[in-house]
C-alpha cells in the first residue's frame, strides 16, 4: 500500500479533486465544472473532447493556471495551486507550463526570435543566452531561416511552429494545446500533431483540447466532457 502511494505521487502530475467552477451569468449560475475528480500522469498525452459548452475550455483554463476553481482542489506537480494568488499563478505558468493556441497568438510586432524569447525575458534571462536558446528551438521546429521574420510573413504552419518553440522555451513539464490544428489545413495539421507526438515521446506531458476525432486520435488518452462533468475516459490504461 505504502509503496503504491509513493510511486503514484511520483507519476501524478495533475490531480483534480471535486473541482467546481461556477460562473455568475446575470441572476443565474452556470456550472462550467460540476465536480471533476481525475489524475493525469507524467508523460501522458491527453485529448479533452466534448461539444461546445461541455466545459472543456474551462477545464483547460483551470489546468493551465489561467483560471481559479470556485471550489475543490487542484494539485499541480505536487503543489496545491487552487489557493494561489495571481502572481503565484503567473509564476507557475512561467516555470512549468507551455501554451499552444488555435490562433497561434504570436505578438505581431515582434520577430520570430523575440516571440520565442518571450518566456525567457520574463524569466530574466540575459539577452545573449536567450538568443542562443531561441536559435536552438527554432532549429528544433525547423524555422532557423525565419528568425528575423515577423509573424505576418509566415504561413499558418510556420506560425504554429513558432508558437511551439515559444511554448518549449521555458522547458515546461506540461504543454497545453488548445485546438492546435484548428486553423491549419489537414497536411500541416498532421505535421504539427507529429511534432506534439515527438515532444510527448521526449517526456513532455501534453494536454490537448479538440473536438475532432482524427486529431484526438494522436493522443493516448481521451477525456470526454459533457455538461461540466467527465462523461467517459478512453484510451490506454493509466
Amino acid at each position: 500500500m505504502i509503496r503504491e502511494a509513493e510511486s503514484n505521487s511520483g507519476v501524478e502530475i495533475i490531480k483534480l479533486e471535486d473541482a467546481r467552477k461556477i460562473y455568475q451569468m446575470g441572476s443565474s449560475e452556470v456550472n462550467a465544472l460540476g465536480g471533476v475528480t481525475l489524475t493525469f500522469k507524467r508523460g501522458s498525452f491527453w485529448a479533452i473532447m466534448g461539444p461546445s459548452g461541455s466545459g472543456k475550455s474551462t477545464m483547460m483554463n483551470v489546468l493551465g493556471c489561467l483560471d481559479r476553481l470556485s471550489s475543490g482542489r487542484y494539485i499541480l506537480e505536487g503543489r496545491d495551486v487552487s489557493t494561489l494568488n495571481d502572481d503565484s499563478l503567473s509564476e507557475m505558468r512561467l516555470r512549468h507550463l507551455g501554451f499552444i493556441f488555435q490562433s497561434f497568438n504570436l505578438i505581431p510586432q515582434l520577430t520570430v526570435q523575440r516571440n520565442i524569447e518571450l518566456p525567457l525575458y520574463y524569466l530574466g534571462w540575459e539577452a545573449s543566452s536567450s538568443a542562443e536558446r531561441a536559435k536552438e528551438l527554432a532549429e528544433k521546429v525547423g524555422l532557423t531561416e525565419r528568425l528575423d521574420h515577423r509573424p505576418s510573413e509566415l504561413s499558418g504552419g510556420q506560425m504554429q511552429r513558432v508558437a511551439i518553440a515559444r511554448a518549449l522555451a521555458n522547458d515546461p513539464q506540461i504543454i497545453f494545446a488548445d485546438e492546435p490544428t484548428g486553423n491549419l489545413d489537414t497536411a500541416t495539421g498532421k505535421e504539427i500533431l507529429g511534432l506534439l507526438n515527438e515532444l510527448n515521446g521526449q517526456g513532455k506531458t501534453i494536454i490537448m483540447v479538440t473536438h475532432e476525432m482524427d486529431v484526438a486520435a494522436y493522443s493516448r488518452q481521451r477525456l470526454h466532457m459533457l455538461d461540466g462533468v467527465v462523461d467517459r475516459i478512453e484510451g490506454e490504461e493509466q
Binding site: 512561467l94 510586432q109 530574466g124 539577452a127
Partner: protein
Amino acid sequence: MRQIKLARNILLGMEDLLLHKLRSFLTTLGIVFGVGSVVAMLSVGEGASKEAMDSIRKLGSNNIIVSSAKSIEEESTSTAHSHMGIYGLTYDDYARVTETFKAIRQTAPVKLIRKEGRLGERALELRIVGTTPVWFDLVQRPIVAGRVLIASDDNGRAPAAVLTEWGARKLLAAENTIGQTLKIGGDRFEIVGIVQSESGQAGNIQIPDQEVDVYIPINVAHSYFGDIMARMTSGTFERELVELHQMIVQVNSIEDVEPTAKGIEDMLKRFHKKKDYLVSVPLALLRQAEATKRRFNIVLGSIAGISLLVGGIGIMNIMLASVTERTREIGIRRAIGAKRRQIISQFLIETVVLSIIGGLIGIGLGVLVPFLITYFSDMPTVITVASIVLPLVISFGVGIVFGLYPAIRAAKVDPIVALRHE
C-alpha cells in the same frame, strides 16, 4: 543587474514606440509644445527680470537715492509768466543728512546743469553733473583713460572734467583728449579722464547715459554756473532754482537702508514746506522686482501647468487606445507568465519614454526660440539650468502620472478574455 534590465526595458519600449512613429510623434506634440513654451517663456522672463535687476543692483543695494522733484502745486503754478520755481534739495539738506545719520558711510551730491560745450570744432549740448569724488565710489564705473575727480579738484576748485566713453565719442574725443580743453559756456575745463558708459536704462533715478555727460567738481559747478537755470519751454521763459538735483547716500549695511531712508524722509518733511523731493531705495525696487518676478513665474507656471496637463491628457488618451488595441498582446504575455506589475512597467516605461522624448524635443525648441528672439530683437533672454531641468523633471512626472492609469488598465486585462479578443 537592475539597471541593465531597466535599460533593456527602455529599449524595448522605444522599439514599440518606433513601430508607430507618426502616432508616437503626434502623441508627444502636446508635451513638446508645453515644455517648449515653458522653456521659452522662462528664458524671456528671466532675461527681462535679469536686466531690471542688474540695473537696480547697479544703483547699489546699500544706497538710498534722494532726488529733487517738482511738487504738484509747483507744477500748476509754474505756467505763470516769468515765474521762478524754487524747489528741491538744498546744500543745507545735504549737510544735515550727511551729519545726522550715523549709519551713513558716504554721500554724494549731484547738481545737473545743461549748457553747450565745445571741444575743438565740435559743439554739443552737455549735461553737466556737478558732484564730488565720492560719486565715483558710489556709482562704480571703470576708468577708460586718465582719472576720475579727486578731492583736490573739489577743494581747490580746479576746473577738471571727466567724460563718459559715449559722450567722448559724441564729442569726437580720442584718448589723447586727456589734458585738452573743453569749453563750457565761457569757461574752460581740463579733461582729466574718461569713464565707461553705463549701458541700458537704469530708470529715472540714476542719471542715464543717453546724454553727453560731463562730471565736474560740485564747488566749481556752483561757483561758475550758480543755481538758477533758465530755459524756454513751450513759449514761456521758465526759471528754476534748484540747489541740488540728487543725493546718493550709502549706508554701512543693508539693514540700515530702510531705517535710514525713513529718517531722511522724516527730516526732509520737517524742513520742506512742499513735497519737492523723492526718496527711493534701490533695495526696495529690487524687492519689488523680485516680487514681480515671482508673480510672473506663478502666471507662467499656471500656463505651463495647463499646457502640460493638456499634453498629459493627450498621452493618456493614446495610451488607453493602445492598451485596447494591444489587449491580445497583453493576454499572450500574461498567459506566458508575465505578472501584473511587469505589464504595468511595460506600459509605464513606454509613456515615460514618450513624454521624456517629447520633453527633450520641447527643450530644444524652447532653447531655439529665445535664441531667435535675442538674435532678431535684441531682447535679452537667459537660459538657466533650472529652466531646462525643471521641464525635464515635469515631463517625467507627466509620463508617470498620465501613464499610470492606462498601465493599470492594461494589467487588469483578464488573459482568458484577452486571448479570445480579436
